[in-house]
């Protein structure tokens, strides 16, 4: 039986017993170190990933939609907005990025609203590797982290040597975090071990830098694949799992984020290692951002409600957060003319 044995209900708690793919020829030790040998070969990895409980698609959509109806108002809204601002990875990933644009974005990252000093700084800026040095100079002395995409972003279609060199370039330039893309082609073809080894190699090349693994869920098609890719990335050593590059639609939809949050929660239960989540792309309004925070709180728990464990990859959402914040503090509706464009 290839597809594993477990098809659980809406809320899956993946206990250790589910790690043994029932009826599969491959032996996986589940007693002492349940996940140590999972990556021994493509067969064991495949058996493990396909042994994960299937996702109830209708249930996941419904639960994400239901959590999206929560009404967050007044003081709760104010603190949610501040938390969301502090979780933003302010991103510019365009072919037209200039050093000037990166510097302007860094200034905004440190002080998102120059007219209101009580606004927290964002978590990080996210740029291409060749602009890391520029960001590093602009952010000198500030607590804002520098994230760099790497590994032939956004398609990931290159050799491992090129990807490792790309990563090393970003790390050498001073990146604190590396956002890598997985090889979706290999993943969809079932070559899980290739994806696994690539993530492990990039993790090694990243050194001290945190590794965020971009799954590009828009290209993975099914929720089952999202769950498998999440586990694969976590097993291979990713410190964060990230939904999307922002170049493919759909990007960070609430159900996909929900499934990834379930995965990190279950991974913590199973292994004791905590992994962060970063939805990226498609989050445009304060409402979207607050929905994400509700999802985090209700799925993974409030242990993830911190910029160390949850990030929002977006750029346009920051202005909307600032406008909503201004509306709450001044009592009048804010206008986009009074905020920077990027």
């Amino acid at each position: 039986m290839q597809e594993g044995a477990v098809t659980a209900g809406a809320r899956h708690s993946i206990g250790l017993e589910t790690f043994a793919p029932v009826g599969d020829a491959v032996e996986v030790s589940t007693v002492t170190s349940p996940l140590a040998e999972v990556a021994a070969s493509n067969a064991t990895l495949r058996a493990f990933l396909h042994g994960l409980p299937g996702v109830d698609q209708v249930g996941a959509d419904a639960r994400a939609a239901m959590l999206g109806t929560r009404s967050i108002k007044t003081t709760a809204k104010a603190s949610a907005i501040d938390l969301a601002i502090s979780m933003v990875d302010l991103t510019t990933l365009e072919g037209a990025d200039t050093p000037g644009k990166v510097r302007a974005m860094c200034a905004k990252a440190i002080r998102p609203d120059p007219s209101d000093l009580s606004v927290p700084h964002v978590a990080a800026v996210c740029v291409y590797p060749d602009l890391v040095a520029e960001a590093k100079a602009a952010l000198k002395g500030s607590p804002v982290k520098i994230a760099s995409v790497a590994t032939a972003f956004p398609s990931g279609r290159s050799s491992l040597e090129v990807k490792v060199a790309d990563t090393a370039l970003a790390v050498a330039a001073g990146a604190d975090e590396i956002d890598m893309v997985i090889d979706r082609g290999a993943f969809l073809a079932g070559d899980y071990i290739k994806v696994f080894e690539e993530i492990a190699a990039i993790k090694a090349a990243s050194g001290e830098a945190h590794l965020k693994v971009i799954l590009e869920t828009g290209e993975l098609v099914t929720y089952d694949n999202v769950r498998r890719a999440s586990w694969l990335a976590m097993l291979a050593g990713g410190d964060f799992i990230k939904t999307s590059t922002g170049k493919v639609q759909p990007a960070a939809t609430p159900p996909v984020t929900l499934i990834m949050l379930e995965a990190v929660r279950d991974f913590l239960d199973a292994t004791g290692r905590k992994v962060g989540v970063k939805p990226a792309g498609g989050i445009r309004t304060t409402k979207d951002a607050i929905k994400m925070l509700v999802l985090v709180n209700e799925t993974a728990g409030d242990g993830w409600l911190s910029p160390d464990w949850f990030r929002l990859g977006a750029s346009s959402v920051l202005n909307d957060l600032l406008m909503q914040r201004q509306k709450l503090t001044t009592g009048r509706y804010a206008g986009p003319d009074y905020f920077t464009l990027d």
């Binding site: 009592g331 009048r332 509706y333 804010a334 206008g335 986009p336 003319d337 009074y338």
Partner: protein, 286 residues
């Protein structure tokens, strides 16, 4: 034999080219000048005003970027559609203002003529307000009037159709988009006008019509940082002062209320109140 039930019209708001109910779900009773029940109209809330401003802002690039000729054509089209519904408007105006059918018909005619008059201004206002300025240097120096952006309009309480047309048309003909708070006392012609607008090739969001209390909605529009101008024609002196103070924060263009004879020649004042002048210097000989 059962008697047929009449199908009554629900009077709703007009936001972004659609007819939503008020977000708040509120409504209020509209009566004729004699005090008879006419209909329940939506009582718009501040959130409806907010949505209307976003719709108007969204429509602004397209509308201000359209050619003046095209804007004029669309205003003329509104006049055509209005003329086609003359009887319906005349009946509504007669009920709201307690005037005779003949007088109401004349008022509708005046409103149609007013639209046509403003439609003609679309490609002429820049010739009147723009200039080629003489400068002491090798430059062409050209000033041209441009629309200011989103304009909030408090429509006059009297003259529910003619007054409404007379405040909306000059705002949009130059390329602004607007959010109108219709006369609280007589909102029905405004909603029927929205049906005319929806069938006139006018892009959704260029005119947004809210019914309800100006006292409640106008201050939110006056304080809104994404509104560039406010016409306080229909505001009471107290409300006008309050709105003027709130409008100062982002330096909105404010048109103060003054008593107007709507049947008189309107002049260009209402158009120029919401225009700003852009001047360009173009070097000669390069």
């Amino acid at each position: 034999m059962t008697e047929r039930l009449a199908v009554r019209k629900t009077y709703k708001l007009f936001i972004g080219g659609a007819f939503p109910r008020s977000e708040s779900g509120r409504s209020y009773v509209v009566t004729s000048s004699k005090g008879d029940f006419l209909a329940n109209a939506s009582r718009a809330s501040r959130k409806d005003a907010r949505d209307a401003v976003s719709a108007a802002r969204k429509a602004f690039p397209g509308w201000s970027g359209a050619t003046a000729y095209n804007r004029g054509q669309i205003l003329y089209r509104i006049a055509e559609m209005l003329e086609g519904r003359r009887a319906q408007f005349a009946a509504e105006v007669a009920e709201a203002d307690g005037v005779s059918g003949k007088k109401a018909g004349e008022l509708v005619d005046l409103a149609v003529d007013r639209l046509v008059w403003y439609a003609g201004w679309s490609d002429k206002i820049s010739a009147v307000r723009g200039a080629a300025n003489p400068v002491a240097g090798p430059y062409f120096n050209l000033s041209t009037p441009e629309p200011t952006g989103v304009v909030a309009v408090v429509a006059p309480a009297a003259a529910p159709l003619l007054g409404l047309i007379s405040v909306i048309a000059p705002v949009i003909v130059t390329g602004n988009t607007c959010v109108v708070v219709a006369s609280e006392r007589a909102p029905l012609p405004a909603i029927t006008l929205a049906e005319v607008l929806a069938t006139s090739d006018l892009p959704g969001g260029v005119i947004n019509i809210l019914t309800g209390s100006a006292e409640e909605i106008a201050p939110w529009l006056a304080g809104h940082m994404d509104v560039n101008g406010i016409d306080l024609t229909g505001a009471s002196p107290e409300l006008a002062q309050k709105c003027e103070e709130m409008a100062a924060d982002n330096l909105k263009r404010v048109l103060r209320p003054k008593t107007a004879d709507w049947s008189a020649d309107p002049g260009t004042g209402r158009m120029t109140a919401f225009l700003e002048t852009k001047t360009v210097w173009h070097p000669i000989g390069t």
